[in-house]
């Protein structure tokens, strides 16, 4: 199916097998391999990308269903020579080890801060009607959709807290 998706600011048009997931479209069709395939079933978060500004698991989404959407992957946030502040913070706090979950963590973190800014609650939010504050426990709950088997969790919290300012 002919599908046009704006990826990292650039409109890309391809004739796609309807079976192609957004993750495989990024990784195999576009060769943007920053989004990782850790489980392919929405159970790890390594494939997290931003679609129209929201974080989702790219593995559980058909590419053809994103015709007309704007997708930002890790490659759209920064480059090795021009790191995004969140990427810089991950590097500084050593919030990565093997690095395989890292692009998903960073995309997730960037979108998470937007969710907090928008006042979205989490299960850690004690008062659902009060303004949302990014406490360490709120941060941990909101990043729990991204598994890190190396368990760089404390460093990830430190990095995001710094990037959040």
């Amino acid at each position: 199916m002919r599908t046009t998706i704006t990826v990292n600011g650039e409109a890309r048009t391809h004739d796609l097998d309807p079976r192609t997931t957004l993750l495989d479209y990024l990784r195999e069709t576009l060769r943007l391999t920053g989004a990782k395939k850790g489980c392919d079933h929405g159970q790890c978060g390594a494939c997290t990308v931003l679609v129209n500004g929201l974080r989702i698991n790219a593995c559980l989404s058909l590419a053809v269903a994103h015709d007309g959407d704007e997708v930002v992957s890790i490659e759209g946030l920064g480059t090795p020579d021009a790191l995004h502040p969140m990427q810089q913070a991950f590097l500084k706090h050593d919030a990565l080890q093997c690095g395989y979950c890292t692009p998903g963590q960073i995309c997730s973190a960037v979108a998470m801060l937007e969710e907090v800014a928008a006042g979205w609650p989490s299960q850690e939010t004690a008062d659902l009607t009060a303004p949302v504050l990014l406490t360490p426990d709120e941060l941990r709950e909101r990043m729990s959709g991204n598994i890190c088997r190396c368990s760089a969790y404390p460093q990830i919290v430190a990095a995001i807290a710094e990037a959040a300012g």
Binding site: D17, R19, T20, D24, R27, E28, R31, L32, T33, G34, K36, K37, G38, C39, D40, H41, Q43, C44, A46, I74, E75, G78, T79, P80, D81, L83, Q87, F90, L91, K92, D94, L96, Q97, C98, G99, Y100, C101, T102, P103, I106, E124, P136, D137, L139, R140, E141, M143, S144, N146, I147, C148, R149, C150, S151, A152, Y153, P154, Q155, I156, V157
Partner: protein, 754 residues
């Protein structure tokens, strides 16, 4: 043969003039990883577009494939080949070692119709696209003749025997010692099968460059992988070039290769096109090795002052029917506490389960979950603080061999940790502290892990731009190898880190043993130091023999390297100037490390102490880690940042072992129940509170010329026991069957009146 005395001399690492060794420098390859620009095995750009291979796993645990219908799959659009044992290409029979020095024998894929474990790859589809390959894989129809299988570990304990070539180690008379003890403990702990669950499933991209097979694969050890593939394909070892530059986690599970490697190489040869193959997450659970389950009986006998008179830990465990692996969960206890009468050993039973193998802190991770809780229980029986009990049993020399310890700061780890953590706030009576809905408790445990050094080589070169390149067939599985090699190079040659390049993960580079067993940094780094020293010497000789150099005529030993300069007293020139003038092709040197024969005269370990605060919800039996601190002594620390990450990561593995992680066997089918990351629980952010690791100052000059030791396994050792002890302190319930999940805590909580 070398001696530890050879390592006593000063060297640039010990002097640290460049100021980068030991410092918390950023991860060398970090910028590539945080931007998604580091290509893992499946992501490497092949010379032409790759075809996609998909494996199909067996649906029985034991038996034979009696029919394979591949016609419909073969007829699908885009399908390039469908293989089963019936039509797979010829390979060397399993276990072939044609080259006498191959470090690994052949591992043929789809070798015959025998199924030896559930999930074993039994068919393979390659198509132009991944979607086509997966779609066609659903159409391969295999018929099996099942044979009786036994996968029930706990029902098979009576069949367990001593592992091959091993027998129990008894010092003194354990039974008499126990009988004579005033205070006794005899309890049994069980630990489940665990899966490595590296975030990157095993994967390979392969192509052929003429007669050379080029493979990018995700593996912890380069040479065995290269040799094994060459043996399987029946080609020269030099005809396999194996690369593994970025590895999405290993933890022991990628210490060997799997059929993705073999099948990608075979299909690329057949199709004359690059082929890539990855395990799915579900395939990883059965298709790669696991940490086997254990039953551990611990018996302790002490006098009323808490001095151990008898100590025993005996472990029952399992491995695959054709396998050799033993989970040596009792071994660490041989060096931990003093007791005149000691008995340790293992019993092994063979089962029709997938392969058992090493997983992070093999031995210690499982074993400390029993003994370090037994010590907590004994301390309570004696009315002693758990730290005091351990201090009273601190040995002066290795309690089994009598050898002196090279370094042992276990007591300091415990006492400094107690102070930093606020251990004095612990109420020794369990179930007394409430915070809202949570019962709060503190627990601690000791950590120990042996230290090892293996042979390795390395090369250093410097070019006309003053760039120093380290080359070594080493791997970085997230451990920090790239970074510590860069630090060693910078320190040794006196150049800033920006001037160092590191090339690893390639079979064409000088061999190193790879990542595992906490030996990586010491082994790779010691070889790097030697290469660096040899390059220094070569550069110094170049300078002092060059009339155009300001260093001309000086003694080679007097030459110093710092800040990109080569200098003797106040005479100096830049490294760049020297190389451009005197070695315009650049200059290279090799180095190597070999274990010292007399290193075995010392008992060498790394140590630590874990402190944990948990909350237990008495309504549900759910546990959260509120606070955790580890204090460790592991030789000189190369990089304070990456070492801390290794240690905290290991500690969180302990948390997972204590309360989350484990797999169970449905013995009717010989398969594991948890086959994905929704069912197999690993720890997530929300399970944790503040967690940190502290490293004590230490230099172990018996370990290697750098005085460093490893930390990759140490953080895991003992960590789970600290969590379990904290759970007991919180609610007064002992659960000796890991993981401590709500269903196991609830009966005790109810009995305790919560």
């Amino acid at each position: 043969m070398s001696s530890v005395r050879d390592w006593e001399a000063s060297n640039p690492i010990k002097e640290g003039r460049q100021g980068v060794f030991g410092k918390p420098v950023d991860r060398y390859e970090g910028p590539l990883k945080v931007t998604g620009a580091a290509p893992y095995a499946y992501e490497v750009e092949p010379p032409s577009p790759a075809a996609y291979g998909v494996m199909i796993g067996a649906e029985i645990a034991c038996g034979r494939i009696v029919a394979a219908d591949i016609a419909e799959a073969q007829a699908q659009p885009g399908v390039r080949l469908v293989w089963t044992h019936a039509n797979a290409p010829a390979q060397a029979p399993k276990g072939t070692r044609k080259h006498p020095r191959s470090t690994s024998p052949s591992r043929p894929a789809l070798e015959d119709n025998r199924v030896a474990y559930f999930g074993q790859p039994v068919a393979f589809v390659v198509a132009d696209t991944l979607e086509q390959a997966v779609g066609a894989s659903h159409l391969v129809r295999l018929s099996y003749a099942e044979e009786p299988q036994n996968s029930d570990f706990h029902a098979s304990l009576a069949e367990a025997v001593d592992p091959p070539g091993e027998e129990d180690v008894e010092i003194g008379d354990f039974d008499a010692g126990l009988a004579a003890s005033a205070v006794k403990l005899d309890e049994t702990w069980t630990t489940p099968i665990q899966n490595h669950v590296q975030m990157e499933p095993c994967a390979t991209t392969a192509w052929w460059d003429g007669e050379t097979c080029v493979v990018h694969t995700s593996v912890q050890m380069v040479k065995p992988a290269q040799h094994g593939l060459a043996e399987t394909l029946g080609i020269d070892r030099d005809a396999v070039r194996l690369l593994t530059r970025y590895i999405g986690g290993g933890f022991g599970g990628k210490g060997q290769t799997y059929d993705d490697l073999t099948l990608a190489a075979l299909a690329a040869r057949e199709l004359r096109q690059p082929v890539k193959v990855a395990f799915t997450r579900r395939q990883m659970m059965h298709g790669t090795i696991h940490r086997p389950a254990t039953v551990q009986r611990v018996r302790l006998g002490a006098d009323r002052d808490g001095r151990l008179n008898a100590m025993s830990i005996v472990t029952w465990t399992h491995c695959h029917r054709d396998g050799q692996f033993t989970e040596h969960a009792s071994n660490f206890a041989r060096s931990l506490y003093a007791a005149p009468n000691r008995l340790t050993g293992h019993r092994l039973v063979k089962l029709d389960l997938p392969g058992a193998g090493p997983m992070r802190a093999p031995g210690e991770a499982s074993g400390t979950l029993s003994l370090e809780c037994a010590m907590d229980e004994l301390a309570e029986q004696l009315g002693l603080d758990p730290i005091e009990l351990r201090i009273r049993n601190e040995p002066e020399a290795d309690p089994e061999t009598g050898k002196p310890f090279s370094m042992r700061q276990l007591v300091r780890c415990m006492t400094e940790g107690a102070q930093q953590f606020g251990w004095d706030r612990r109420n020794p009576k369990p179930g007394q502290v409430r915070d809202g809905r949570w019962l709060v408790g503190l627990g601690m445990a000791a950590a120990i892990r042996g230290n090892f050094l293996l042979p390795a080589k390395c090369s250093f070169s410097v070019d006309v731009d003053g760039i120093v390149t380290v080359r070594q067939g080493m791997t970085d599985i997230g451990t920090g190898t790239y970074t510590v090699l860069a630090q060693i190079a910078a320190e040794t040659l006196g150049v800033p880190l920006e001037k160092v390049r590191v090339e690893i993960g390639d079979s064409e580079l000088p061999p190193a043993p790879g990542s595992g067993g906490q030996f990586g940094a010491a082994t790779a780094g010691s070889a790097a130091l030697d290469a660096g020293m040899n390059l220094r010497k070569a550069l110094a000789e170049l300078a002092v023999n060059d009339p155009a150099s300001p260093l001309h005529g000086a003694a080679v030993e007097a030459v110093a390297f710092h800040d990109g300069l080569i200098a003797v007293e106040n005479r100096s020139e830049t490294l760049v100037d020297l190389v451009r003038r005197s070695a315009p092709q650049g200059l290279a040197a090799e180095g190597e490390i070999r274990p010292a024969a007399d290193a075995r005269n010392w008992s060498q370990h790394t140590y630590g102490a874990h402190f944990c605060e948990v909350g237990v919800d008495p309504v549900t039996g759910e546990t959260r880690v509120r606070r955790m601190l580890g204090v460790f002594a592991a030789g000189r620390i190369v990089n304070a940042k990456t070492a801390r990450s290794q240690l905290t990561g290991g500690m969180i593995w302990g948390v997972a072992s204590a309360i989350h992680e484990g797999n169970a066997v449905d013995a009717r089918y010989g398969s594991l129940i948890n086959q994905d990351l929704a069912q197999y629980m690993v720890t997530v952010q929300a399970d944790l509170g503040e967690l940190d690791a502290v490293m004590l100052d230490e230099v172990d000059d018996k370990a290697n010329p750098l005085g460093i030791k490893g930390v990759g396994e140490l953080g895991n050792s003992g960590a789970g026991a600290a969590v379990a002890n904290a759970i007991y302190n919180a609610c007064g319930v002992r659960v000796r069957d890991y993981p401590i999940t709500p269903d196991k805590l609830l009966p005790g909580l109810i009995r305790a009146g919560f």
